[in-house]
């Protein structure tokens, strides 16, 4: 039971962020960036598919699609940061940087999981997250170390989304159980490595690490910000309106 929940959390985070990023399709600031953001979106959908197929197999659901399209928001366990709005390009880059820097560390650990499927999916994801991180990191440095205006915009973006990064390192009952069984990752332990990684980039980008924090939480129990409704409304509209439609 716990493995299902644990797998859903990972798959849902990839799915919802992938859906958010797909909104950049035809809206990117340049053609190259349009392609970059949608490529990252596609990788995230692929990762989501792997994890959700596994969750579906474990809990007897028909398919990953059923999990993606037929659950309500309180049955989703994606991290709150993944459902936040795209905002401007800098907002999206900041969200992506914070997400990818955490998930690079997370998947590197999960690749050592005793669960063969989770470890295989994690090892595959590491390869992709590496270049996602290179992309957002280089943009963060360029924007932070750019003009006064670009610096201010990304610093604001960091300050605005920062309160959603606390969830990365939370450990609830399921996390602890998975950790004890050699399946899951010690998220709390990744905080030190993540801080180091993020600090180095922020320094290069002339950006400040936020001090005042009031970390938001809830996703592990299906409690979300209102933004998840917006994402699901768009993502689930067609399969809900026309169940089992084929194209």
């Amino acid at each position: 039971m716990s493995v299902i929940n644990y797998t859903l959390r990972i798959g849902d985070s990839s799915l919802i962020l992938g859906q958010r990023l797909s909104d950049w399709c035809t809206n990117g600031p340049t053609l190259e960036e349009d392609i970059a953001l949608t490529n990252i979106s596609l990788d995230l959908f692929g990762q989501a598919n792997g994890f959700l197929e596994y969750a579906a197999k474990l809990n007897g659901t028909k398919s990953a699609d059923d999990l993606a399209f037929k659950r309500d928001s309180n049955q989703f366990f994606n991290l709150l940061i993944t459902e936040q709005e795209n905002g401007h390009f800098g907002d999206t880059i900041v969200r992506q940087f914070l997400y990818s820097s955490f998930f690079l560390l997370f998947y590197t650990e999960l690749a050592k999981s005793k669960d063969a499927t989770l470890s295989a999916l994690a090892a595959k994801s590491v390869k992709e997250i590496k270049y996602h991180l290179r992309h957002s990191e280089s943009w963060l440095i360029r924007l932070g170390d750019g003009t006064v205006e670009s610096n201010k915009k990304v610093q604001d973006a960091i300050n605005n989304i920062w309160d959603f990064t606390g969830e990365f390192f939370e450990m609830d009952e399921i996390d602890n159980q998975m950790l004890n069984e050699g399946i899951g990752v010690n998220n709390a332990k990744l905080k030190f490595l993540w801080d180091d990684l993020v600090n180095k980039t922020l320094e290069k980008a002339n950006l400040n690490y936020p001090n005042n924090t009031n970390m938001k939480t809830g996703s592990k129990t299906g409690v979300h910000t209102n933004y998840l409704y917006t994402v699901l409304k768009e993502m689930q509209y067609l399969p809900r309106k026309y169940p089992d439609a084929k194209w």
């Binding site: 190259e32 392609i35 970059a36 490529n39 990252i40 596609l42 990788d43 995230l44 959908f45 692929g46 990762q47 598919n49 792997g50 063969a116 499927t117 470890s119 295989a120 999916l121 090892a123 595959k124 994801s125 390869k127 992709e128 270049y131 290179r134 992309h135």
Partner: protein, 150 residues
């Protein structure tokens, strides 16, 4: 084909082109990981190049069709993720085919497929498909696609 000739299956699979880069086969691409004969069935293990690569569905369908065209019906296709796909599985011969086709093959230093120069510059890590990035040649100034090393 009931006697379990695994080599024959490999030969057939080697005629199935990659849906996006038709000059190389799915075998050359390295996505066919294993073929074995078990309980009267050929078990064909395939692995995706990238997690979200839409070509997986396309080449799975192509493989099914090709095997059926060869009157082979006793097969199953299974998806595996371990070990994760890597461009290191590509042979030198396959890389030459890519270069000739106009795609710079996976290598530390990309080679311009037009003039073979090694003086190139990265335009974007992301290209028209998940497996390729965009480069520009500093000598002949032509843009080109480079197969990412992964």
């Amino acid at each position: 084909m009931q006697n379990g000739d695994v080599k024959y299956i490999w030969d057939i699979l080697n005629t199935v082109p990659d849906p996006e880069i038709p000059v190389i086969s799915v075998v050359e691409l390295g996505v066919i990981r294993n073929v074995e004969f078990k309980n009267n069935f050929f078990i064909i293990s395939i692995t995706p190049t990238y997690s979200g690569c839409p070509a997986v569905k396309a080449f799975t369908d192509d493989i099914k069709k090709c095997l059926k065209d060869h009157e082979i019906r006793n097969f199953k296709i299974v998806l595996t993720y371990d070990p994760p796909w890597t461009t290191e599985w590509m042979s030198e011969e396959t890389k030459k085919k890519l270069l000739k086709y106009g795609i710079s093959p996976p290598s530390e230093i990309p080679v311009c497929p037009q003039c073979k120069s090694c003086q190139t510059t990265l335009v974007s890590e992301f290209g028209a498909t998940a497996c390729k990035s965009l480069y520009k040649c500093k000598d002949c100034l032509e843009p080109f696609e480079h197969f990412k090393c992964i």
